[in-house]
Symmetry: C2
Subunit: 233 residues, 2 copies
DNA sequence: GTGATTTAAAAGTCATACTTTTGTGGACCT
DNA sequence: AGGTCCACAAAAGTATGACTTTTAAATCAC
């Protein structure tokens, strides 16, 4: 089973999306709907619906009389969670992971600063709880448990920022952190300095110390980037 | 003519996308495909393709036996350029403009810093050229000409950062700047301080002064946010 | 009332026929 | 040789109708 049995549409979409983002079809390649229908053994209807979706992601462009042409990577909507997943699953995972981490390093400090301004008491409490959870699981090869708290922590910060664009990056951050834990060669225990920083961010947010929350989060980001340089140069 | 005569699919997609993002269908509303087909006077085929695209944007969810349900705004893929356009054209343009500006304020300084590291000589020259163009058009009610240079300037910075995620925000920035010029009540001439800052950013990038480029761009961002607070409180 | 069973509503899939756009190649002219 | 125009055909776009599958909800049995 290549993918879940979630319908023909999903299956074809997944296969094609993965193949294209993996660079199996060089930009400019031309696909024809009939040919695809035959290849996947589905009706042209299904293929057309898939093509329309891929088109909305700027992975392909469909033109009459010529066919469906694969677009160059610069066109792709790299913010589409689906595209992100495909790319993380494919060949240029390292590049993707890096550019996402750089994005995080830009966004999260600002988000943390805003969170310090706007976080509700409940969010503050939740944040502290996750930070403590990170401390508790930071030793003894409990990477999976640590990951859960880490993801939750960053999600709360992004949500508490009150900015919808930031909030929607929660899934991206989750993917990056999960990717780091699962596919990157990683140390058996997370960096203690990073753990401490998370605790201090939680404190700064609760104390409404915008500048400090931003500064500390920036430190976390720098750490993440350095880690990436060390482990995947 | 509501939209360009670019095909039935495009027309229906545009209408529905606009309506949904405008909040005309409260979250949880249910649409039925054959009803839509009838309403737009197109075949079910066309409607289904549109639904599939809207689904990939997380604007709707299609389930058997129940129909196509409109998703709450928190689900929407707010990074999809299409969604951004729809929202900017619709009712919550102000909110959208604000959250995009906040995003810019996070991303662009970091992008400028990276650009200072990586910009090619050609990009440096181009950047300077655009900055000078901004100076030249900053007086005498030449807002349109100014806008062109402004957009070009920020696009170059984002591209020169060498990060694909940043580069793809060029269109977003263009939309925001255009929106500010066209729909916001704006001063007859741009803020002279902002113009100067752009020139200095260009200089910093050429001088490979990462920290300065980042700092100056942050100043521009702060200015943009303040402007938003003054004009659309 | 609770749980199993039937029912029907809506999306999902398929096959086919037809329309529209548009590259391409060839005829024709200069 | 080179350009213009035109007819052809290829491929996507659209429409229609029949059939399948899922599943919410109504019905029935206990």
């Amino acid at each position: 089973m290549t993918t879940r049995a979630r319908g023909l549409h999903t299956h074809v979409l997944e296969s094609l999306g993965l193949a294209i983002t993996a660079g199996e079809y060089p930009p400019g390649s031309v696909l024809r709907t009939d040919e695809l229908a035959q290849r996947f053994d589905v009706s042209r209807t299904v293929v057309r619906e898939v093509i329309r979706v891929l088109e909305s992601m700027y992975l392909v462009e469909s033109r009459r009389r010529v066919g469906v042409t694969v677009q160059p990577a610069e066109q792709w909507n790299v913010y589409d969670p689906q595209v992100i997943r495909w790319r993380l699953a494919g060949a240029d995972r390292p590049r993707q992971l890096r550019s996402l981490t750089v994005l995080r390093s830009a966004v999260e400090p600002v988000a943390a600063g805003l969170a310090a301004l706007r976080a509700t008491p409940a969010q503050c409490a939740d944040l502290t709880e996750q930070a403590l959870g990170m401390v508790a699981t930071s030793r003894g090869r409990q990477l999976e448990a640590y990951l859960v708290h880490d993801v939750a922590f960053h999600r709360i910060v992004l949500n508490a920022s009150g900015n919808e664009m930031f909030a929607r990056l929660g899934d991206v951050v989750a993917e990056v952190l999960a990717g780091r834990t699962h596919h990157q060669v990683m140390f058996p225990d997370p960096d203690p300095a990073a753990v401490t920083l998370h605790v201090r961010v939680a404190e700064a947010v609760r104390a409404r110390d915008t500048a400090e929350a931003e500064r500390l989060t920036r430190e976390i980001a720098v750490g993440a980037l350095q880690e990436l340089d060390v482990l995947a140069p």
